[in-house]
């Protein structure tokens, strides 16, 4: 590994990075050693095994030498200031970056010992195993039923209408939406409230029984009550799914996750059990971020 020492000062000048307002108490020469992550990045029983991952957007290097394990049935939260690469990294896990022409991913990314970026690997199968929920609720402009049934339909998971009905009901129940919508499954999903839409999107994602659910700031467009419902849901889902959640809310990370990973300018600075990260961060950048000195 050719680790190059870079300083924040030099990073800030990069065009695509968000400038970080560095307080005078935090000296600009804080050094992030590339590829070096403090805390506990590795796990004994990893679902995802990610090593030396680099992501480029054209010439810009958005992710720098990240190595991380994501455990089975674990809820891991990615936190960090805007533009630090946490969403980019998340989207590598089910190859959602494929549709961006200029995006290149390097390194080794494995899901259950299968190479995610193997050119022979079918991305459709990968995404059936690794579902995703997006920042903005994005239901299809179809009925509530069709939204949830879409995944099972295209993957051929239900042969009979009754099977499909069951999948839809179970998914909506798991997403805590069944009681609210059971009488209007034929109504258009775009007529629901934002919180309901987001829970519908979660129901849609889990309808294909994925092993992992990726959530990219799932609550950023929701009000506190809807947020609380989604967080409750994440806690319930964590019993049977591996969940990776990107969030801007540190309280949310603290509430829902088992482990927390702190990203900074494309580096993975610190990974540890959530309570450790928030009570006794090892890295000074993590500390300044969670104490609100920047971010």
């Amino acid at each position: 590994m050719n680790s190059v020492n870079t300083t924040i000062a030099s990073e800030v000048s990069q065009p695509d990075e968000v400038a970080v307002p560095v307080q005078e108490s935090k000296p600009a020469e804080t050094v992030i050693e590339e590829g070096k992550t403090v805390g506990k990045p590795f796990s004994d029983d990893p679902k995802f095994k990610l090593r030396d991952v680099d992501v480029f957007y054209g010439d810009t290097r958005a992710i720098k030498q990240i190595s991380l394990d994501i455990g089975r049935n674990e809820v891991i939260a990615f936190i960090g200031p805007s533009g630090c690469g946490k969403s980019t990294f998340l989207r590598c896990l089910n190859r959602m970056n494929d549709s961006i022409d200029i995006c290149r991913v390097k390194g080794s990314l494995h899901l259950d010992d299968h190479d995610i970026y193997d050119p022979k690997r079918d991305v459709v199968e990968l995404r059936a195993r690794v579902g995703m929920v997006f920042q903005k609720p994005n239901p299809f402009p179809k009925s509530i039923y069709d939204n949830v049934a879409y995944g099972p339909r295209i993957h051929g998971l239900a042969n009979r209408k009754s099977d499909l009905d069951e999948i839809v009901e179970n998914s909506l129940r798991k997403a805590g939406l069944w009681e609210e919508v059971k009488d209007r499954l034929d109504a258009n999903a775009t007529g629901m409230s934002g919180g309901q839409q987001q829970r519908l999107c979660i129901a849609r994602a889990i309808a294909v029984s994925p092993e992992v659910v990726l959530m990219d700031e799932p609550c950023s467009a929701l009000d506190p009550i809807a947020t609380a419902k989604v967080e409750e849901l994440i806690a319930e889902l964590s019993e049977s799914y591996t969940i990776v959640i990107v969030t801007h809310s540190m309280q949310q990370a603290a509430r829902v996750s088992h482990r927390t990973a702190y990203f900074h300018l494309g580096h993975l600075v610190e990974v540890n059990e959530t309570n450790k990260v928030f009570t006794s961060p090892e890295h000074e950048l993590t500390e300044s971020y969670i104490t609100g000195r920047f971010g």
Partner: protein, 424 residues
């Protein structure tokens, strides 16, 4: 305190100026719209003023004595006899009887009031009803075009009346007695072109237009949509696709007559397809319409929010499924709107069709895609260029029919956009 007041004063003063600017800007807008509406109104008043008489015909109703001796006919079922028989004489005799002062010596002047095709109509009626021979029937015939023009435009200096004073007096009297009447011009909507303005109709042109449009729609919509989907969703972004894109945009701006030349060179001369037929017209108009449809379809595809695409991809839909299940249904209203507008353009197109021979004088209503035909705008072109003034009002009437088609198509496009538009 004083500082604050003066600041409020400054704001108030600048407000006045701002509002004045705003009012002025609004006035410009209203003026622009008024000019556009004025031009449109002038156009419509002119066309309707000139053309509404085209929707009326002048007829003569009289008791025709179907005397076998006079017509040299004793068996109307015999084709040979029918061919030899005289169907003009009974008409002249009938009309002389209707005009009190008219004598046998003035028969030629009387004859000039009757449409040359009236004898054909009488023959057809007798063929259809052979038992009428030897009886007297009350029948209605088209008047001569000169009578038609006189009845409709007696005081109009723009029209030259070809009747002499004697004939004018007769027509006036016959009109008073209800023998000569004007009524809705069904001939105009039920016949093809004719040398005689009174007999000329636009049905042939309408059918020709419909056949041509059908070919254009069947070809250009699927090809255009498929091209748009490929370019937007599947094609790699490289120099070659850039080149294609630039060329599609260029094609949209190519004068339509060039497409006509292309059609003449390729479809008729190279492939040996027949001239003047709707299929070739449709092919040429397809070439002309394709860029419009491709461009509007691509815009419609682009306007599908990426979040919907991501949602489908995130569940594991393949590229094809994303396109077919999500992008296409959401883009369809835009595609249809663009296509209808493209079709409306094609419907009004004249120049390329002139070059492939659809400007020929065609009397029969076409009955197939390979039958000689003309189209509405070309029919307007033909009539408008005619020296006979009676054709001018037909041209205006045909323009009204064409405009009705165009307005309904555009209204349909707007209605569809409103109706099918989905919100997300």
């Amino acid at each position: 305190m004083t500082d604050q007041r003066s600041q409020a004063e400054i704001v108030r003063q600048s407000l006045k100026r701002r509002y004045r600017k705003e009012r002025r800007f609004r006035a410009y807008g209203v003026l622009a719209i008024a000019i556009a509406l004025g031009a449109l109104l002038t156009l419509f008043t002119d066309i309707i003023g000139k053309g509404y008489t085209g929707f009326m015909k002048t007829t003569i109703t009289m008791d025709v004595q179907l005397d076998g001796e006079m017509m040299y006919l004793d068996d109307p079922t015999d084709e040979r006899q029918i061919k030899m028989a005289d169907f003009v004489e009974p008409l002249i005799q009938a009309l002389i009887k209707e005009i009190p002062g008219a004598t046998e010596e003035q028969r030629n002047q009387v004859r000039e009031l009757i449409n040359p095709y009236a004898s054909v109509a009488l023959r057809d009626a007798l063929k259809a009803n052979p038992e009428w021979l030897g009886t007297t029937q009350t029948m209605t015939f088209l008047s001569h075009t000169d009578v038609d023009v006189y009845v409709k435009h007696a005081g109009d200096a723009a029209y030259s009346i070809k009747l002499n004073d004697q004939q004018k007096a007769w027509v006036d009297e016959l009109q008073e007695r209800g023998v000569i009447e004007t009524s809705f011009n069904d001939v105009f909507f039920s016949g093809g072109d004719s040398r005689d303005p009174s007999k000329a109709g636009i049905l042939g042109a309408i059918v020709g237009s419909l056949l041509t449009m059908f070919v254009t729609l069947i070809l250009s919509f699927p090809i255009g949509v498929a091209a748009a989907i490929y370019l937007e969703e599947f094609a790699p972004q490289n120099k070659f696709t850039d080149f294609i894109e630039v060329n599609i945009n260029n094609l949209a701006a190519v004068p339509s007559i060039i497409f006509g030349l292309l059609g003449l060179a390729v479809f008729i001369n190279l492939f040996g397809m027949p001239r003047s037929v709707p299929v070739v017209g449709g092919l040429v108009l397809t070439l002309m319409t394709l860029p419009t449809i491709i461009i509007s379809s691509r815009a419609a595809i682009k306007s599908v929010p990426p979040s919907i695409r991501e949602a489908a991809e995130g569940i594991g839909a393949s590229k094809m499924q994303v396109v077919l299940h999500h992008v296409l249904p959401l883009a369809m209203p835009g595609m249809l709107t663009g296509s209808i507008i493209g079709m409306a353009q094609a419907l009004g197109e004249t120049a390329p069709l002139l070059l492939i021979g659809m400007v020929a004088f065609i009397v029969d209503v076409p009955d197939g895609f390979f039958d000689s035909a003309t189209v509405l705008p070309v029919q307007v072109f033909l009539w408008a260029g005619s020296p006979e003034l009676a054709f001018i009002e037909r041209a205006s009437a045909a323009i009204m029919v064409l405009l009705t088609f165009l307005i309904s198509m555009n209204a349909l496009a707007i209605w569809m956009r409103k109706r099918l538009e989905r919100r997300w």
